[in-house]
Symmetry: C2
Subunit: 415 residues, 2 copies
């Protein structure tokens, strides 16, 4: 049997008893994991050094090497992340609905673990610990498949975590890691219906598209964000500039940053430069529509393709529109249903935007950068769902649960 | 452009405004649809007669022809089904969560339509109306793809419904039907990412497996049910017999009926015949394990394959087990996580069964036949989900919605 299938079977076997674990038992395992990461940090950094060495030999970019690198303070932060998950309320067992039927049946709907979660991700070893902590806290078994660039780090981290788990009530087989770094091991995971209950991809567009296109197991899609900010006729210019700069330039590499600024023509006629001057001061390259370029001489020309691009960089499209409707139509065409913002002092327009825009998070006078589990107060985040089924937007612990109906009676039969 | 793609695009265009429809507007459309079905019933029955004629020529079985057949009272029942959906509360807009963040952001999480739903089903024209009513009531556009055996009936029904919708605030393009009856039209639907938000299959195992195996669009899996009843040591024999007969024989063709009866050996030693006599009196063929056959001479021998079979017929496996654990292990191995029941007077065993069994619906002293949206009091049912993501068990109107976060502020930016 392949490594993938045999480890998934071990995970499924472990998952079957995990609905019975108490919150205290799960927290005890997470705390043991956090302690072990600190105790064993020397050996983890040793393994990490081998990954970094291999990366340098393969010509990996400095920014990727930086994501991959572990040091004492990073390992402490990772362990602290586990302790934070311990502090979060456990959603498993939560009573969501209860009702009595006329025939005397008493029905309850409660949260239960999803079962076995497959995580497919790239070369950040912190995701290994983070995903393990979130899945185990919610009573799920997890099969981790990280990027090959972090293989040595991940292998040692998982050894350390499993050793820690083995001294607790948590079944050690609930945490599995696929070491086979061939693409075929991902393909095999994607078809493990009956063993994996869901696959969650975390990473770049091509990783996510591979999962969406090839999985027969249910998927929670995370990822792409082409986010817009619409500055309406009545917008406060100073606020609009502040929000636009934050949405674009505070951290351009993430999915909730802005790619296109839409500006109402009436606003643009007197205050476009307030926005563009602030953006240029934040090192943002502007690509404007024809009307924008008449007002802002040094903006480059935007193309159709630009509107459909997630730059993840200090580049911004600027387009002047004549109405809220035109802005809505642009977003419906080019948006990825992630995060969208209107800056306006007109309440009717704000409400119309909030209702009409089809996205996970829609903002009025707030930067799109807040689409994040921590910023929403969830205390954790397994990812940001960009699909509409099961979970949408930032996913906290409840997104890692399913539900179960229990029905108690005294002999009821159907007539 | 293909019929499938062009109709899906029309549906998506219609869907974009449907979050704004009021409940009254949606109900008006459903009532107009119900009225039109009655007014136009002669032409619907004419079209249905062509389907029936073609079916007879093709040697279709009488039971399938009966499912396909429409008459005046069936059309009235279908129209009445729409009126019942009108009476149900509209989940769209429901406020699920609201919270204020320390920086002054006000966050709301509300139900919104899913968008465009693809329904793939077999030859029952009532599903055409039912699915249309449920999807439109929840503000979704729908692309229907029914079985070719009902093509003439479905085409006429959809014409009638669209004509009725065209006189209301509901966009007529929200209701689409694929007339291309080749298998390739289903395959095309399954890959329409970006146009369809979800595909829901309703029908036999091969239809559902084709959808699960080939869809890149998110799927809500419905279907297979290998359901068990475990009669524990302390069970009341009369109650156990009543529940077993109901679970097996009240309507064997449906997914929530029982396929295997597990009996504790202590109970079996004194009362197995109470169960088997009642089942035999209900025309059930028994297939027993060796220990069962020692007690019940006329039971046939059960095979491993039988335990994994959904009979949908008056056939039942009977297996004697020595403990609750053995029953749990059997169900974990052969069950399909649909509906499972324990009959016991022992509260501890009941609670253990309710917690440990991983299924959509778990019953104590109640027949599994109750896993049904109407029996649960939902007033409607789009199907019974057998997956763990998004919706599990009977799906009422809320299962046809997604959620959206709206965030209101006064210039908040991320630090």
């Amino acid at each position: 049997m392949s490594e993938v299938r045999s480890k998934a079977q071990l995970a499924k076997g472990a998952a079957s008893g995990m609905n019975r674990l108490t919150t205290a038992q799960k927290n005890e395992a997470l705390l043991a994991m956090a302690d072990a990461l600190l105790t064993e940090q020397a050996s983890i950094m040793e393994a990490n050094a081998r990954d970094l060495q291999r990366g340098r030999e393969n010509g990996t970019s400095e920014s990727l090497l930086d994501r991959l690198a572990l040091n004492s303070s990073r390992i402490e932060a990772i362990a602290e992340g586990l302790r934070q998950i311990v502090e979060l309320p456990d959603p498993v067992g939560d009573l969501l609905e209860t009702f009595d039927r006329p025939n005397g049946m008493h029905i309850e709907k409660r949260r239960v673990p999803l079962g076995v979660i497959g995580m497919i991700y790239e070369a950040r070893p912190n995701v290994t610990v983070d995903a393990a902590g979130l899945c185990l806290k919610t009573g799920n078994a997890v099969v981790l498949r990280g990027g090959s660039a972090a293989l040595d780090s991940n292998r040692r981290i998982v050894e350390v975590l499993r050793e820690a788990i083995s001294h607790t009530a948590m079944p050690v087989e609930a945490l599995q890691m696929i070491e086979d770094s061939r693409r075929s091991s991902v393909d095999e995971m994607l078809k493990l219906n009956g063993l994996l209950d869901v696959v969650i991809p975390r990473g770049g567009a091509s990783l996510i598209q591979n999962v969406v296109q090839n999985a027969t197991v249910p998927v929670i899609e995370t990822g792409a964000g082409i986010c817009h900010t619409f500055v309406d006729e009545s917008a406060n210019a100073e606020m609009a500039a502040r929000i636009a700069v934050n949405a674009k330039a505070q951290r351009p590499s993430v999915c909730n940053s802005m790619e296109t600024l839409l500006v109402h023509s009436s606003f643009a006629s007197h205050s476009l430069s307030v926005l563009t001057d602030a953006l240029k001061a934040a090192n943002v390259e502007l690509r404007g529509c024809e009307r924008t370029r008449k007002l802002i001489a040094d903006a480059n020309a935007v193309t159709e393709q630009d509107y459909a691009t997630e730059y993840n960089d200090y580049i911004l499209n600027v387009r002047i529109v004549d109405s809220l409707d035109e802005a809505l139509a642009h977003i419906a065409r080019y948006g990825t249903m992630h995060s969208e913002c209107i800056v306006t002092e007109n309440t009717d327009n704000a409400e119309r935007f909030l209702v009409d825009i089809d996205a996970a998070a829609v903002y009025h006078n707030v930067s799109t950068r807040f689409t994040d589990g921590f910023e929403f107060g969830f205390g954790a985040e397994i990812g940001i769902s960009t699909q509409k089924l099961h979970a949408r937007g930032p996913m906290g612990l409840p997104a890692l649960t399913s539900t179960k109906y229990t029905i108690r009676g005294n002999g009821q039969v159907r007539g």
